[in-house]
């Protein structure tokens, strides 16, 4: 019953497929966002005290699946997150990573993957209001598809920081000048995008907050399996590069004390593919 209430409509799915992203407004209430922010405050403070007391890092990220932020951890089992994700990526899809993100600056134009053999989506919940000049996510509609995706790559737009984008450097343009849709939002809104979709955020500031939950297609075809093997292989280096703090899968979460069948399926899959090893070591 609950699952049906959070199902996407055909119109929403078509929007996602056509433009590579989908916006849902007021998915979480103000009380829920306040609860998440309270947990975020405490966890961030303890992490900074431990690893970055002078707050020199420009990006701090930690997994949600941790008993120190129980409400945030519970959102992965919340139908508002997993039901739409399963509709878009498959009923047997898996959330490999789920993070609390505290950014220190803007993010230039990039994609999260160039590999189109596996479908990967990311659900993002921003914990502060966002506007065009204050951290709103920007996406280029339809850029998850060929040839626009490759055209953007070939024009050398890619650059996680503006000053590393050859196109912007050569043209004298700013990242803000690239045509796109701007996701201006209130806390509680959720944007879900295909990780092939080009995106950026400008007007960054210290402790710009979000929660992100990504879901991967369960690989079946040979090329999908090959792709997933590469992801497993590269995950330790990628995670290290992002400076993720703490275990991706806390023992409490892996224990699955409530015997949640969906979580049990996820855990079996993560163990089978080796993610519990590569992301917890």
């Amino acid at each position: 019953m609950i699952a049906e209430n959070y199902s996407l409509t055909g119109k929403q799915i078509l929007h996602f497929e056509t433009f590579g992203f989908l916006v849902r407004r007021n998915v979480f209430s103000a009380e829920e966002v306040a609860k998440i922010n309270g947990e975020f405050d405490r966890r961030r403070a303890s992490i900074l005290a431990e690893i970055d007391p002078e707050e020199k890092r420009t990006f701090t990220q930690w997994p949600t699946r941790n008993p120190e932020n129980p409400f945030t951890a519970s959102l992965l089992d919340d139908p508002r997150i997993y039901v739409p994700s399963e509709q878009l990526v498959g009923e047997d899809s898996i959330p490999i990573q789920s993070h609390c993100n505290s950014y220190g600056k803007s993010s230039g134009w990039h994609v999260d993957t160039f590999d189109r053999r596996l479908c990967v989506i990311k659900n993002i919940l921003y914990l502060q209001p966002t506007t065009a000049d204050r951290g709103a996510l920007r996406v280029i509609p339809g850029s998850h598809r060929s040839p626009l995706s490759e055209d953007l790559r070939n024009m050398d737009l890619y650059g996680f920081h503006d000053d590393t984008s050859p196109f912007l450097n050569a043209s004298g343009m700013r990242g803000e000048d690239i045509p796109c849709y701007i996701f201006e939002s209130e806390p509680g809104d959720v944007i879900t995008f295909n990780e092939l979709t080009w995106h950026a955020a400008f007007g960054g500031y210290k402790d710009r907050r979000s929660l992100s939950y990504n879901f991967f297609t369960n690989p079946k075809a040979d090329d999908e399996i090959e792709s997933m093997k590469k992801i497993v292989e590269h995950t330790p280096a990628n995670t290290q590069g992002l400076g993720t703090v703490g275990l991706e899968y806390h023992p409490n979460w892996l224990e699955n004390a409530d015997n949640n069948p969906r979580r049990a399926r996820w855990i079996n899959w993560l163990e089978k593919w080796g993610f519990t090893d590569v992301l917890n070591n």
Partner: protein, 282 residues
């Protein structure tokens, strides 16, 4: 002339905004000519204009607007994108009204043409600025958008060239993700015919000068696309001229005899005229 990056931007996203392409003095001249002409239209005479008024501007009563089609500030843009083998097709002025549904100006992807727009008032997302879906001039995105149901008001049957179905449960104009081309007078907006675009909001007298250029067809497919475009533009013009001037034919000729006479023996214009004649634009 455009920079290499501007050319890349146009081909990748299907449009380009060139800030301050015309100066304040030039905008003032355009406004004076626009005002004079608007007062002669049926809408301009009405106190409550509720229709789009559009008229050709290649006549001697709008000399500055007419010259824009051949001015270096405009042809330099077109040459950068199409080389020198293109034709200037028209220079129109429009007093826009209401919203414009999502549509491309050409649905045949072999069509190589562009529009240069100059708005005479500042416009943003709430006041009728053009909205475009970047990259929608090419497939797969161009055709994918046709499957998106739009919850659209009745349209004039002319702007709507693609098979987009109307549905009350569909998307509203502003729900389609797009770039809003906020502009100030003097900015030039250049877009590919095939790009999906729309507008929402604004006054009943949003003023725009639009110029159309077509690249010379090189393949049989391009030739077919150009011929389709010619037919469509003839239908559009007849409809809009009638709406603006009723039965007074003297006002509605797209190509004024003086312009066609080409008294200055401008070789580029003569080449355009020859092509227009061949295509039966006259």
């Amino acid at each position: 002339m455009l920079t290499e990056q501007q050319i890349t931007q146009f081909h990748t996203f299907g449009f380009l905004i060139l800030r301050n392409g015309l100066n304040a003095k030039e905008i003032q001249k355009l406004n004076v000519e626009f005002e004079t002409k608007l007062t002669r239209t049926t809408g301009g005479k009405s106190k409550n204009k509720e229709e789009r008024m559009s008229w050709p501007s290649l006549g001697p009563d709008t000399p500055f607007t007419s010259a824009l089609l051949e001015s270096p500030s405009v042809t330099g843009i077109v040459s950068s994108l199409f080389g020198d083998d293109y034709f200037g097709i028209s220079c129109n002025a429009s007093s826009l009204c209401g919203e414009t549904n999502w549509h491309p100006d050409a649905d045949n992807l072999h069509m190589k043409g562009l529009k240069v727009l100059c708005y005479l008032q500042p416009l943003n997302g709430n006041s009728g600025a053009l909205r475009v879906i970047p990259g929608s001039h090419i497939n797969a995105l161009h055709d994918d958008i046709k499957s998106v149901q739009m919850d659209e008001p009745e349209h004039d049957g002319l702007t709507q060239v693609a098979l987009v179905s109307n549905s009350k449960s569909g998307f509203k104009i502003e729900e389609i993700p797009a770039t809003i081309c906020s502009v100030n007078p003097g900015d030039l907006l250049v877009f590919d015919f095939r790009l999906w675009h729309a507008s929402k909001g604004g006054s009943n007298d949003r003023r725009m000068i639009s110029m159309i250029f077509i690249k010379n067809a090189k393949t049989p497919e391009e030739e077919i696309a150009v011929n389709e475009s010619v037919l469509k533009s003839q239908k559009n013009r007849a409809h809009r001229a009638k709406a603006a001037f009723g039965k007074r034919n003297e006002q509605v000729s797209e190509y004024h005899p003086n312009w066609v006479a080409n008294l200055g023996n401008n070789p580029r214009r003569q080449r355009w005229i020859n092509w227009l004649r061949e295509k039966k634009y006259f």
